[in-house]
Amino acid sequence: MTEFNPTILAFCCNWCSYAGADLAGVSRLQMPPNVHVVRVMCSASVKPEYIFKSLVQGIDGVLVLGCHIGDCHYLTGNHRTAKRVPIAQKLLDDVGVDSRRVKLDWVSAAEGEKFQQVITEFVDEIKGLGPNPMRGVRL
């Protein structure tokens, strides 16, 4: 049996976390190659439906990364994210999907190392959880 190699999606806001990911790259910080970044303008634009759709289709984990509270480029966008993602997680738990497959965190444009750390830890955590049971299930 080959080692479980999770597929992870990360929504990064243009102003902080995407820039933090860029900084990690510029700083040549090495990390596991499982995470695929989708750029959005603000973490507040991440619809819970994107998270559900990803998990239902078999993606093993979803990260939502925004600016730190107080630093949002759009003033209070991330306050919405901070409320919305936990609700999405609760809905997942309610229907029997492990909400640990979804993680919300804050990474500033100056935090390349934090980006590396968040990615590395989340990949480890998802490896621990094993493959998404919905993988390959046809609904």
Partner: protein, 563 residues
């Protein structure tokens, strides 16, 4: 069916050393809608851009995907190339395989190549759904407003008025000059403050384009770049101004260290500004002890106020000039005197007899009253023992702090502040002195404690930037704004509540109530998209269909075994 062209960049060895470009290229050719795939050693070079442009024409491409570095730096370049080749620049999609792949998976070429393939597939899937967009355009009111009449605001206003731009300077107090009014000599070179201020003010008053409003408080700001409307109260009269650009130069206050080091209870303990006032009158005698970093560089107020060391060095030398026999001591944690001129003053102070005693935060000095003066007890880290200093005057070097009303200013303008209340620029390195909110700029100590010289630099910088939309005469907004699908909209108003910019209203559209986005106000955060329960709200360039297609592409590439 879209005709998509994919261009994979080697970026010299930057990408190609970890990613097998040929393999990604071969994979890209198999993706739906891709009619051409090419590669460049440097896509951003003249040669690379030319080859993209000629491929667009040759293969009649109507969507372009470039897999290279980051859109944060290079998107404008490739968008422009698309435009030059005759296709709408919003039909371009960027895939980052350098910062997000080759540089962070440098030792895993197989995995890096697989990841690059998936990211390209996601980019192609999104590109297929991109739509051409037209950027919004609005005329600009050729008027500038500067909030705050300190040195930075005066510099900005006199520069704008000098350029022939109608400029209104709004100052809440009854005088211009800000903190510098209490300072007689500016360090480190030692120019006089008053002539500098008077010159700035006369430049503004002499100009027929300069309008000064004293004792004025801003009550409301609405609108957007090019078309702001400010309501303010001048004396007792409420007034309104329309403006194209706004500069925030609301400055900072000296921190009042109530209760620290005997301030408030020991009469001989004063702040730096009080010393400035006394020095201006020549009213200082006896031994003086400065205590640096009072109320900053400690938990709760971690920042360094930057200017206080230089101010103390300057004043220490003035004291020695005024009364040559006196003892002047600077108790500090570190002396920050960066720059050649300031370092020269530090050296001069050391050589002239100013005593420097270093203390640590864990053992701060103690000040007690002694006759008309005070005694300062301090643990000298260099001597490794506690010493006592008699002083006729103890000067506390306190930081500049954000004024209490900056919170209100931030809310009125919808611009962010850091945890200490200082204003945050759009980007510290790439966009200094401008806010993320278009048409609003910042200078001086409103954004960080700065010296007089820096106030002037920043005032000029903010004025130069504010004059750009006014000179252009029109503003163009990036077409990433939100829009509502009237047929799907149920007029629930969630989007209205969510929007941080009040850009959405529920009005009659096509005979029914529906959300309508004011594109000139919308900043394109997409918050309303996530809030919409009916999938009626969409953001240009980030539609739910486009992001859904990216998820589908990742699922297809990763889970259904793309090789």
């Amino acid at each position: 069916m879209a005709r998509i062209g994919v261009f994979i960049c080697h970026c010299g060895h930057n990408i190609a050393s970890a990613v097998d470009v040929e393999a990604v290229l071969a994979y890209a050719k198999t993706l739906p809608g891709v009619v051409f795939a090419g590669h460049n050693i440097y896509s951003c070079s003249q040669e690379g851009l030319s080859s993209i442009k000629s491929s667009i024409k040759e293969h009649q491409l109507d969507r372009v995907v470039v897999a290279a570095c980051t859109p944060r730096t290079h998107e404008p370049l490739f968008r422009k190339a698309c435009e030059q080749a005759g296709i709408n620049k919003y039909l371009f999609e960027f895939v980052n395989i350098r910062e997000h792949v080759s540089w962070i998976h440098a030792k895993e070429p197989v995995a890096a190549t697989e990841k690059a393939k998936k990211l390209v597939a996601m980019g192609v899937a999104k590109a297929a759904l991109l739509q051409p967009q037209t950027e919004g355009e609005a005329a600009v009111t050729p008027v500038a407003v500067v909030l705050g009449g300190g040195l930075a605001g005066l510099t900005a206003a006199s520069s704008l008025a000098g350029q022939g731009i109608e400029t209104h300077l709004i100052e809440k107090s009854e005088r211009l000059g800000g903190l510098l009014r209490d300072v007689s000599v500016i360090g480190p070179e030692g120019e006089l403050a008053k002539p500098l201020l008077d010159d700035m003010i006369s430049r503004l008053t002499r100009s027929k384009h300069g309008h000064i409003h004293l004792k004025s408080t801003v009550k409301g700001i609405s609108g957007f770049v090019g078309n702001f409307e400010l309501t303010f109260v001048e004396g007792c009269d409420e007034k309104k101004i329309k403006a194209g650009a706004i500069i925030v130069a609301t400055g900072a206050n000296e921190f009042t260290p109530v209760g620290d080091y005997g301030f408030g209870s020991v009469p001989a303990v004063v702040t730096q500004l009080e010393l400035e006032r006394r020095l201006a009158k020549g009213d200082v005698a006896g031994d003086v002890v400065f205590i640096q970093c009072v109320g900053c560089r400690q938990p709760g107020r971690e920042y360094c106020s930057r200017i206080c060391c230089n101010v103390s060095l300057k004043n220490a030398l003035r004291l020695l000039t005024l009364s040559p026999g006196s003892a002047v001591t600077i108790i500090h944690r570190d002396i920050m005197s960066s720059g050649t001129a300031a370092e020269r003053v530090y050296k001069e102070a050391s050589e002239t007899g100013v005593r420097f005693v270093r203390y640590g935060l864990e053992r701060p000095p103690k000040v007690s009253a002694e006759g008309d003066g005070a005694v300062v007890e301090v643990f000298d880290e260099t001597l490794d023992e506690t010493i006592e200093l008699d002083a006729g005057l103890v000067v506390l070097a306190t930081p500049l702090v954000s004024p209490p009303d900056s919170e209100e200013t931030g809310k009125l303008l919808k611009v962010p502040r850091d945890k200490h209340g200082f204003f945050l620029e759009a980007h510290v390195k790439l966009r200094p002195n401008e806010f993320a909110t278009d048409g609003v700029f910042v200078c001086g100590s409103a954004r960080w404690p700065v010296s007089a010289r820096e106030c002037i630099y920043q005032g000029l910088a903010a004025a130069a930037k504010a004059s750009i939309p006014i000179r252009e005469g029109k503003v163009v907004s990036e077409a990433i704004t939100a829009y509502a699908d009237v047929d799907k909209c149920a007029a629930c108003g969630n989007c209205v509540l969510t929007c941080p910019y009040d850009a959405i209203e529920i009005i009659q559209v096509k005979g029914k109530l529906a959300a309508k986005v004011n594109e000139a106000v919308c900043k394109g955060c997409g918050s309303c998209v996530a809030a919409c329960p009916n999938d009626a709200m969409q953001q240009k360039g980030f539609t739910t269909q486009q992001l859904g297609a990216m998820i589908d592409a990742l699922v297809k590439g990763a889970l259904e075994g793309a090789q």
